[in-house]
Subunit: 334 residues, 4 copies
C-alpha cells in the first residue's frame, strides 16, 4: 500500500515534509496547495506532483493523507475539514494557539476517527530517541532530572513573531514535548521567566527572546529548559537526563566533524545552521511513523493530546511569568 | 615574608587546606587545633607542625593567619575572636546559617580591619577562572544565560545533614556564588524547587536531595542551577555561559583520561570522586590568593560580603520553595 | 538532462550504488544485470527498474552510463566493452589486480574518449573532503605528515580473500588513494610490513590481516597507514594531517551519538558497522560527481590514472614486504 | 627513611627533578651541583639545599642518591663514579649515545650492585600507565598494533642539536621505550625514514626534524611512530593500542579545558606547551618509584637494560635510514 499525500502549505517546513514524503517508499506526494502559486509550483516541480487547491485535495479520491504546514491560525479549521473528509492528518505544531480551540478541534478528530499526528519532530531524532530507548532499557535507573537546552541561531522575522503565540508557544513548545517524552511522568507544575536580551524589537511586539523554565512532576522529578533566540555557533539542541543509576545525554550535531589545531587552539566547525539540516533524519523518521500508522491502521503518536498537553504547559508558563509564581497545570486546563 | 598559619579544624576539608598551605612557598603551617586530638595529631605529623589549642593559636605571636574548618556553628564566633586577635582569617563557607549572625560577624571583621576571605574554592579552579577570564576579554559578548550543573557523588551522612542548613545553604551556596561570579550582575530574583529523590531519610530530616533554581538579574539575564546529592558517575561540576557573541563552557574533569573501545562502545573512566580530588588545583590557588592578599596588604576576595550575598540567595530560595513563587532577594535582606 | 544508468552487479556494493543513483535527481536507474537472477530482481524491485543482460545494456539506446560492481576479474573487460559502446563508466576499485592489464584497459578508455571514474568513495566523504578543503585554504600551511588508520570490523569470507589481490590491493588501496589525496605530492617510496594476527586461515590463503605502511614523497613528506581486518568497536576510519601551521583531523563517525554515564564510566556507542552505513553520504556525493561530469562533459575524478597509481603503490608495497626494504614506486611502473 | 639527594645538573630538566624531589615526602634534596654557579644557586635557593661540587656530593655521607641531569656526554662517567661511590643513581636518558659505552657503563652498575634507574618519564604518566594497566587487565585482549604520535612544539637550539645524537636518539628514544612498554614483546625489526621539513639548519647539522618509524615483533605485532620537531598547537603526545578485543588510547592533555563557541566554531585551548608542564605528574610519580625502589631495596624500573634496548632501536633506525631497509635489531647489538 502506498499512502498518497496532499501537502497544504509550501513554505519552509512544507519543503521539508515534501522531501520526507518523496524519500519514503510507502508514500507518494500527489498534490501540493499554497496560496502563493510560485511556492506550490516550486515543490510540484521539484517533487513531480500536481498543484491543486485545498478544496480539490479535500475532494480528491487519490489522496489518503494531508500534511498541514499552513499558517498556525488555519490549522484547526483544516484539521476539522480533513477529518470530516476522511483523510489522515499530520499537522505541524501548534495545533492552535488557543487551548479551547485545540480541544474542540480534537473532538472532531475523535468523532471522525481520523488518524492524527502532531509534528513534534524531535522525538524522532535518532540521538534523542536513543536516549529514550536507553531510559526504557533501565540504563540510568529512575529518571530524576532533565535538562534541555534549545537555542535558535537567530530570531524569526518580526511578522512571524506577531502571529507566533510567543516564544513559549512557538519554540519552547518543542521542549515541553521533549520534557514530557523524557520525564516519563506528566509535569504538573510550571515556573517560567522570560526576558528580552537579543532584540528590543521583539520586546516591542510583546514577545520575549530568552526564557528559562522549571517543570516538576508529582513524584518530584524536575526539568529545566533554557531557550534563546540567539546562538552564534549554530542550532543548539541538547538534552540530558539524570537518573538514579546514571545519566545520559545527546550532544549537538554538526554537518562536518573535523578539527583544526593551530597555535590558537583546537577548533571544530559550527553546528547545523537550523532545523532543516539538523533534523533531516528526524523528519524522515517522523513521516515514516505517520505512514506506518496509516498503513497499519493504528493510532499515530505523538497524538493530538500530546499537542494539547504541550500547549497547556505553555499556557501555564505564561501565567507563571505574569504572576511570578509556580503554576499548577490544572489551573489552565479547561 | 612567610605567612604563618594556624589551622582550626582537622577534618576532611582541614586536611585539604593543610596540604594547600604546605605546598605554598609563601606560607607555613605552624599549628593545628582540633577537639579530636587524633585528627590534629595526624595533620601535625603529616605536615610537620605543632598541635595547639584554639586559645594558644589566638595568643600566638608566631601565627599570622588562621584557616577556619571547624563545624559551621562555630565559624562566626571564631571569626570575631580572631579578627580581634589581629589575625588574617580564611573561613570555610558558610560563615553562618543565619543571615543576621553573618552580618553582625562581618561588622566585627570590618571594625577590626581584619583580612578576611571566604572559601568559595570554585572561583579558583583553573577551568572556571579561565571561563571568567574569557568573558572579561569579551570572547562571548554580553552574558545572557548561565547554566550550572552540580551533583555530589552521594549524600552526606545523616548527622551532617542535620546541621548543614539544608542542601541550598550547604551545597547550592557554591553555585549561588558561581552564578554571581559568572553573571557579572547581581541576581535580584530567585525561584527554587526541591524534592527528595535519592534518600527518603534526607526527607525525614527535613532536607531535600534534588534542587532546581532559576536566578534572574535586573537586566534580564538568567541562571539555572541543577543540583543532586547523587551522581553514580562521579563529582559532576559543569558551568556554561551563553552570551551575545558566543558561549563558553567548562566540562567535567577526570583523574585519568583514557578511552577504551570495545564491542560495547567507547568508554572513558568516571569523573573525580569528590571535591578533594576535583578541586586540588583550586584549593592551592585559593590559598595562594589568600597569602598574596595578606602579603600585599590588600583586601581578600571572595569577601565576607560575597559569603553574605550567597547566603541571602539561599534564604530567598527557601522562601521561594515555601511559597511557590519567585522571591526578590531584597525580601530576605535584613 | 537525466543520466540513465545500467548497473552491472547486484551484490552488496551494487545495492549501495543503486540507492545513490535513485537518490540523485539528475540520474535514473534504468536496468540492472547480475549473473544471480534473484540479486538483480531484488534491486529491480526495490528501485523500480528493469532486469537486463549485460549485452542488452551494452546495446541499449536508453542507457547513458554504467556502474561496474561485478567481480574484480571482470572489470577491465567490461570497461573496454562499455567504452567502445559509448557509455560513461563508473567502476568500483580496483580496475584490475594486474598493473599492465589496467594500463591496457585505460588505453582503450582514452582512445574511445569515454567518461571514466574509479570508485574511491572516501574522497567524497564530507568530513574527509572538508579536510582537503581546509588544506587547500592554507589552514595548516604546508602538509608534512599524514596518518591514516583504517580498520575493518572483521575479515571478509575466505572465498573473497582468494580473489581479492591481498589486503594491500583490496583494502589498503583506499588508503593509498587517500594518502595521495591528502599529501598533495606523489609518494615515490613505499615501505610496508604485514602479518597475520586476526585469523590464521587468512595466512593459509597467502594473505595478511594486519599491515603498516610508510610512504614518502620527493620533498620529504611522510604518510603512515595502519590497517587491520579486525576492529571490535566498528568501522575505524580516521585521517590526520600535520602541517607547518597546524594539524587537521577527521574523527570516526557513529550512527548514534549519545553518551551514557554510570559508575563504570562514560560510554558512547560503537562506530558505524561498515562502509555501507559509514559512507552513505560519500556514495551519494560520489555518484553526484559522476553525474555532473557526464552532464557537463568534463573529465571525471578520481580518474583511471588515480586507480592505476594506487595499484602501483600496492605493488610496490608487496615488493617491499617481500624484500624488507623501501621500494621506489618507479621500480614497479611498467 | 628519607632518601637524601644530590642533584647533578641544574638546567631545565634539573629543575623539574628538583621539584619532584621536594614534593616527595620520602625524599630530601640535600645538594645541587652545576658548572654554572648561578644555575646551581637558583635551585639551591628555591628548594633550600646546598650548592656543592660533584666531588663533594660523591664523597658526602649525607647523600644517598643522585639524579644525573648533566650533558649527555658526561652521563656514563658519572654513573660509573657514583656507582662506585655507593649511591643510588637516577640518570636522564640517554645513558650515552654510544651503544658499547652504555654496555660498559651498565657493567659497572651491575658489579657495584647500584640501584639504577633511567629517566623514561612517560611510563609514569597517569594516562599512559592507565593504558598499560588496562592492557594488563585484558581489556583489549592481545596487543596487535600500537600507534605513537610525538611532536615537540618547536625544534631545540642548534647547539643542542649538535650533541643530541640525532632526533632518533634524542626524541624518538622516548617513543622506542613507550613502544616496548606497550607492545609487551620485544621489537626485533626497525624501519625508519626521516627528513628535514621544519628547519633547513637542522639538516645542515646532519640531523632530521621529521621521522616515521615502524617496529615489528617476532609474533607480528606492529608499532608506528610519528615524530616532528614542530607542532604549533602544543606538545602533541598520544598513544593508541589496538588489540584483539578492542582498542585503548590516551589523548592529549591541556592545562585548561574550556571550550568557546562562536560563529567560527568551537575552540579548545592549545595543549601543554612542553614536557615540563605536560608531564608534571609523571615526573613526580617517576621520582616516587625511584625513592620506593631505594627504600625497599628493590631493583628500579625502567632499568639500564631498558635504556640500552631503546638505544639499540635508535641505532637500528639510523641503519635503516642509511640503507633504506628494515633492520634486525640483532644487527646492531654488540
Amino acid at each position: 500500500m502506498t499512502v498518497r499525500f496532499g501537502l497544504l502549505g509550501a513554505g519552509r517546513i512544507g519543503k521539508v515534509h515534501a522531501r520526507a514524503i518523496s524519500g519514503n517508499k510507502g508514500a507518494q506526494l500527489t498534490a501540493v496547495a499554497d496560496a502563493v502559486a510560485d511556492a506550490a509550483s516550486a515543490i510540484a516541480e521539484a517533487q513531480g506532483c500536481a498543484v491543486r487547491t485545498i478544496e480539490e485535495i479535500e475532494a480528491a479520491a487519490d489522496i489518503d493523507a494531508v500534511v498541514i504546514c499552513t499558517p498556525t491560525d488555519t490549522h484547526a479549521d483544516l484539521i476539522e475539514r480533513f477529518s470530516r473528509a476522511g483523510k489522515a492528518i499530520f499537522c505541524e505544531k501548534p495545533i492552535d494557539l488557543d487551548y479551547d480551540r485545540v480541544k474542540a478541534c480534537l473532538r472532531v478528530v475523535e468523532e471522525t476517527d481520523a488518524t492524527f499526528m502532531v509534528g513534534f519532530n524531535r522525538r524522532f531524532d535518532p540521538h534523542f530517541s536513543a536516549v529514550r530507548a536507553a531510559i526504557n532499557e533501565g540504563r540510568i535507573g529512575d529518571v530524576e532530572m532533565v535538562q534541555i537546552v534549545s537555542r535558535d541561531p537567530g530570531p524569526p522575522p518580526a511578522q512571524y513573531i506577531g502571529s507566533s503565540g510567543g516564544i513559549l508557544r512557538d519554540m519552547t513548545i518543542h521542549d515541553f514535548d521533549m520534557a514530557r517524552f523524557l520525564l516519563g511522568e506528566e509535569p504538573d507544575t510550571v515556573f517560567a521567566t522570560a526576558s528580552v536580551l537579543v532584540d528590543p524589537e521583539i520586546g516591542k511586539l510583546g514577545d520575549h527572546d530568552s526564557a528559562s523554565v522549571v517543570l516538576t512532576t508529582p513524584s518530584g522529578k524536575h526539568c529545566t529548559i533554557s531557550n534563546s533566540r540567539r546562538a552564534t555557533y549554530g542550532y543548539d539542541q541538547r538534552i540530558e537526563v539524570h537518573g538514579s543509576k546514571g545519566a545520559i545525554s545527546a550532544e549537538n550535531q554538526r554537518p562536518v566533524s573535523i578539527e583544526i589545531a593551530t597555535n590558537t587552539g583546537y577548533t571544530k566547525p559550527p553546528l547545523h545552521d537550523f532545523f532543516m539540516t539538523r533534523y533531516t533524519e528526524a523528519y524522515a523518521a517522523e513521516m515514516a511513523a505517520f505512514v506506518a500508522a496509516i498503513s497499519e491502521g493504528k493510532p499515530a503518536s505523538p497524538s493530538g493530546q500530546d499537542g494539547l498537553r504541550a500547549l497547556a504547559l505553555a499556557d501555564a508558563a505564561y501565567l507563571s511569568i505574569e504572576q511570578g509564581r509556580a503554576v499548577k497545570v490544572s489551573e489552565v486546563l479547561g
